[in-house]
Symmetry: C3
Subunit: 423 residues, 3 copies
C-alpha cells in the first residue's frame, strides 16, 4: 500500500505563519509528526505531494523516513491533481490518501489498517461529531457510505459522522479513471469522482471518535499545542542549568543546554527548546518555547506557541502564536483579551493574542492587539498600539508630537527622604 500525504497546500488561512507543515512542535515539524505517526501505525511506503514553494524542504524532511516527494504543479486544482500526479508510482498498489491539514491520533491510522480485513473497495475515516460542524457528512447505510452531504443545514445532518481525508482506495485504477473523466475546470474533481464511485462500489465508514484537530487557522496551532502539552511528561535534560531559586512545576520538558535563571518559574505543562534561556523572574506556563530563545527578565509567556530564536524582555505574551526570530523590546505586550471580553474575530475564543510570522522586531512599549496578524520581516517602532493586520516586509512607525518648554517646576529635595521612609 502506498500512502499519499497531501502537503502541497499554501496555508493561506494560517498566514502569517508561512507553512504549517514546518511548524516545529516540541522539536519536530508538524509534517514529521505526521510521518512518524504513519510509521508507528505500520505504513512505510509514503509519497508526499509538495508544491514548488515547499518541495525542497519537504525532500529534506522526507529522507530519513524513506518517503518520496512529488510536485503538484497546479496547486489550485485541489486533491484530484495531487492524486493523479502519483498514478504511475502507485500502479496497482492500494492507495491511502492522507491530508496534512488534519491531525489525528495514531489509532486513527491503525483503525484504517484494521478495517482492510473487510471486503470493501474504499474506506473513509468517519469522525463522530458531538455538535454541528460545517463539513462533509457521511450518508450511511449500515457501514456503507452512500454519499457525502457538504455542510447540511444544522439539524439535517444525514449521520453523526463527518468525512476526514483519510481515504483508502483498493486497486485505485477506477479512481484514477474517474478523476480523469471529471472536467478539469472544477476544483472539486476528487469529490465528484468519489460521489460517482460510491454509487457503484462499496465504500466503508471507519468510525473514529479520538482526537482530531484541523490546522486551518492560526488559533488551531494553539489548540494543537494544548493537546500536545497535555500529553507532556516531565523530562529535564541533564545539561540544563537551573538556578536554585527557580521553580519548575509539573510536566515540563527542558531540552539540552537550557538555562533557567534565579526566581524564574516554569509552570507545566511546558516545553523549553534547546539552548533557550529563561531569565530572572520570567514565567512560562502552558507554552512551547522553541530553540535558542531568550525569555528575558520579568517576561510572562502564557498559553503561547513560540518558534526558534525569539527574544523577549519584560513582555507579556498571552495566547500568542509566533514563528522564528521575533524580538520584542522591553515592555512590549501581546494583548489577548478584548475590553468587552467578546470573542476575538472568527476564532471563537475570548482569549487570543496576535499572530506573528518570522523575523519580526517590535519596539519597546508597543502593544499588539488581540488577534491581529503581523507579517514576516516586519519592524514596528516603539510606543505604538497596533490594532490592525500588518502585511509582511513592512516598517511601521508612529507620529509623536512633543512640546518642549522651559521647566519652571522646582523640586523639593526633602520629599524624597520622606518617601523613602515609607518604602
Amino acid at each position: 500500500m502506498k500512502v499519499l500525504l497531501l502537503a502541497a497546500g499554501r496555508s493561506r488561512r494560517v498566514k502569517p505563519i508561512e507553512d504549517k507543515n514546518f511548524l516545529k512542535f516540541f522539536g519536530m515539524t508538524l509534517i514529521e509528526h505526521q510521518l512518524s505517526r504513519l510509521e508507528r501505525a505500520g505504513f512505510k511506503d509514503i509519497l508526499i505531494i509538495a508544491g514548488a514553494h515547499n518541495i525542497e524542504q519537504l525532500k529534506k524532511i522526507a529522507k530519513p523516513f524513506g518517503a518520496k516527494v512529488f510536485e503538484q504543479k497546479n496547486l489550485d486544482d485541489g486533491m484530484a491533481d495531487a492524486v493523479l500526479s502519483v498514478e504511475k508510482e502507485v500502479g496497482k498498489d492500494d492507495l491511502f490518501i492522507v491530508s496534512s491539514n488534519d491531525i489525528v491520533e495514531v489509532k486513527a491510522y491503525e483503525s484504517m489498517k484494521k478495517a482492510l480485513k473487510s471486503n470493501a473497495d474504499s474506506y473513509l475515516l468517519a469522525y463522530r461529531v458531538s455538535e454541528y460542524f460545517p463539513g462533509g457528512y457521511l450518508k450511511l447505510s449500515g457501514k456503507r457510505i452512500t454519499g457525502i452531504v457538504e455542510k447540511p443545514e444544522p439539524g439535517k445532518e444525514p449521520s453523526e459522522f463527518i468525512n476526514l481525508v483519510l481515504h483508502i482506495h483498493r486497486k485505485p485504477a477506477k479512481l484514477f479513471a474517474e478523476l480523469k473523466k471529471v472536467s478539469s475546470t472544477r476544483d472539486d474533481r476528487y469529490e465528484v469522482a468519489l460521489d460517482k464511485l460510491m454509487k457503484e462500489r462499496n465504500f466503508e465508514a471507519v468510525p473514529y471518535a479520538g482526537y482530531w484537530q484541523p490546522v486551518k487557522f492560526p488559533w488551531h496551532i494553539l489548540d494543537l499545542l494544548k493537546y500536545g502539552l497535555a500529553r507532556t511528561k516531565r523530562k529535564i535534560h541533564k545539561s540544563a542549568q537551573i538556578a536554585k531559586t527557580a521553580v519548575i512545576n509539573g510536566p515540563v520538558v527542558i531540552e539540552e543546554g537550557v538555562k533557567i535563571f534565579d526566581h524564574a518559574m516554569i509552570q507545566g505543562p511546558a516545553y523549553i527548546g534547546k539552548n533557550s534561556v529563561v531569565a530572572n523572574n520570567a514565567l512560562v506556563r502552558e507554552s512551547m518555547i522553541g530553540d535558542r530563545c531568550v525569555i528575558g527578565f520579568s517576561t510572562e509567556v502564557a498559553r503561547s506557541f513560540i518558534g526558534d530564536d525569539c527574544w523577549f524582555h519584560s513582555n507579556y505574551v498571552g495566547d500568542t502564536v509566533m514563528g522564528d526570530d521575533c524580538s520584542f523590546g522591553a515592555g512590549a505586550i501581546c494583548a489577548n483579551l478584548r475590553l468587552d471580553e467578546k470573542d476575538i474575530g472568527e476564532s471563537g475564543r475570548n482569549k487570543l493574542g496576535p499572530v506573528l510570522g518570522s523575523h519580526i522586531r517590535v519596539g519597546v512599549q508597543t502593544s499588539l492587539m488581540p488577534g491581529i496578524r503581523i507579517g514576516s520581516n516586519t519592524m514596528i517602532t516603539s510606543g505604538l498600539t497596533i490594532a490592525q493586520d500588518i502585511e509582511e516586509g513592512k516598517f511601521v512607525s508612529g507620529k509623536f508630537e512633543i512640546k518642549i518648554e522651559e521647566n519652571r517646576a522646582k523640586l523639593d529635595s526633602g520629599k524624597r527622604e520622606e518617601m523613602k521612609k515609607k518604602l
Copy 2:
C-alpha cells in the same frame, strides 16, 4: 435610648465611589463596622436613616444587627428631616444621633454613654484638634456648650474642640418641637434648632481625643485603610494555599481560599480577601485586596484599597482607591506622584493614585494620572495616558496614526549570538 444612624447621604464628594456606607473594609462594609462598634459600646436600639438609593441594601445589612431602617424622603434637607422622620419611633426615649460620615473609636461611643451620669439635657462629642480644622468649634463655659462657631477664622477659634455628630438628646421632645419651628426652606434647620436650645438648656461637651476620620473625599478611604491596617494582626486561613517560595511578611490577613503563587510577596500590613489569587512575582504591600481578586504576574499594589473581583496583570497600582470588578490590561499603570512632587489636587498628599468606581476595564499600557476619577461602567482602550476625570458609563479611546512603509532594514543574524553571550 434610640441610636439614630444617619446613612442617607449620597456620597457626592467621594465619587466615583458609589456609596461609602457599602465600602468593604476587611470583609465588612463601613456601615457594618459602625453598627458593630455601636453594639460593642452597648447601644442596641438602632434606627438607620436611608435614602431611596440605598434603603434596600441598608435593610439587608441592618437585619442581623436588629436595626430598623427609615427612609428620608427629602435628601436635600439635611439632618432635620432625618431626625423628624423617626419622631414617632423615638417617642419618649433618649436619642443618640450618629453620622455615618465620621469614623471614631468604640471609646467615643463609650464616653458618650458614661457622660450620661451627669444631669445635662444634651451631650455633644467634643473632638480636640491640635491644628486648625475648618469645622464647627464649640463655645464652652466649663463643660457647658453655649454655642457653635462654624469655621471661625484661624486664630479666632473659641476652644480647641470641634463638634462631631455624636449627639445625645435626653427626652428629645423639645428638639423635635424646635426643629418644626425652623423654616423648612433652610438646609441647616438642625443647627439652628441646636443653637436655640443651647441658650435654654444644658448642653455638655464630651471630650474625645482618640481616632477620628471623616469620610468625605476618596483619599479619606486611604486614611481609613491605613488606620485599619495598622491594627491588623497576622492571621492566615488554613485553607489558603501558599507556595513555598512566596514570602508573607508581617501582619497579614489571608482569608479563606486564597492562593499565593511562587515568588509572590505580601508585605504587611495587608489584607487579602476570600478566594483571591496573588500570582507569581506579585507584590502587595500596605493594601487591602477584596474578595475574588487576581493580582496577576509581576503586579505591585502599594498602599491601595481594592474592592472585590478586581484583576491585575503586570500593573503598578499605588495609593489607589477602586471599587469592584475593575480589570487592568498588562502594563497599565496607576500613577501616584506628580513629576514636580507637589500635592495632588486638594488631597494634601503628594502620593495619590487615580480613584475608580466599579465595573471598569482599562486596556494594556494605559496610564491613569494621579488623583483623576474614573466613573463606574467605563472602558478605556489601550496605550492611552488619561489625565482627566472620566464620567461613568463612558468608552474612552485614542487616535493613533501609524505610518506603514516598506521595511528596508537588513538584520545581521550573527549579532544575536554575540548578544546572547553577554546575557
Copy 3:
C-alpha cells in the same frame, strides 16, 4: 617633581554629564581615582589645573591629597595656558603633565618614573595600539621621539605608538620659554612648542600596552565602568540588610546601609552604593548604583552607570549613563537597541541606552530611545516616546487626543469565573 593634572576641560562632548571629573565610580570621583593612582605611583606634589566652573569642587577634593589647585583663565587656549599658569610654582622642578581625560593604570605612571633613569630631556607615554586610532602617532628613531604625526592616513602611521598626555619635562624652563614664543592665537601652542623642542632635545618614548580609556564621550563612561567592574571583588558591608530570598551572585560590592529586598537579584560584577535599596524582584547586573538610590520593584538595571539619589520603579535601564537625582515613573524604559540592531550614533556600539544628566524626572510609561541625551533639570511627562536629544532645563509633554463616547458594551460576568479556572 611637580605633577600637573589638567582638569579644567568643560567636558562638552560628554554632555549632559556635567563634569566627568566628578563622576563617582564606586564611591570615589574620577579625579580622586586619578589622584589616588598618582599617589600610589609615588607622585606627591600635585598641581591641579581647574576652570572657573569646577575650581571650588576641585579644591575640596584636592585637600586630602595635599594637592594645590590653580585656575586656568582662558579655557579655549588648551594646554599651553594651563602649563604656563604654574610656571612660578614649578620653578626648577621637573614637570609631569597628566591629562584627566585619559585613564591609565598605575603602572603607566610607574613606567614614567622608572624611565627617568635615562638621560633624556622629556618623556612621553607611548601607547601601543593594535588597530588604527585617530590620534597623534609618534615618529621614532629607536627610543627617541623625533616628531608627532596627527591623525595620519590609515596605513601611513609612522609607528604603532600614539601619544597620550603623560609627559615629563626635566627642567622645563625651555618648555616655558618655547610656549611663550608661539603665537597666542593658536589653540595648539603646546603641540607646536613640543614639535620645536623635539628637534633640539632628547624626547624619549615610554612604551605602554596596559589599559587606557579616554573619557570623551558618554559611552566611554560605560567602557570605564566595565573595566572597573571586572576588577571588583565581592565585599558586603556588615550593616547591609539582605532578605533571605534575595540572590547575590558573583563579585558584588554592597556598601553600608544597603537594603536588598525579597526575590531581588544582584548579578555581579556590580556595585551598590551606600544606603541604596534594591527592592523586591529587582535585578541589577554589571552595573554601578550610586548612593541613596532606590531600585524599585521589578526594575532591571543592566550594564549601566547610575549616579546618586536615583529612583526606579518597574523600569528597564540598559547600557545607560545617568547623573544624580534622576527618577523614573513606573514602566518608563531606557531603550538600548535599534530595531535594525545597527550601531547607535557614533558610539560604535549596538547596545547603548540614553544618557541623562542630573535632576531629571521621567513620567510613567515614557520611553527614551537609544543614545539620546537628556539635559539636567528636565522633566518629561508620561506615555511619551522620546527619540531626540533634550536640552537641559526643559519640560517635555505630549499631545494626546482621546475620544469619549457612551459605553455600549455589556460585560458577561460569568466569563471571569471561567478565566480564573485557567489561571
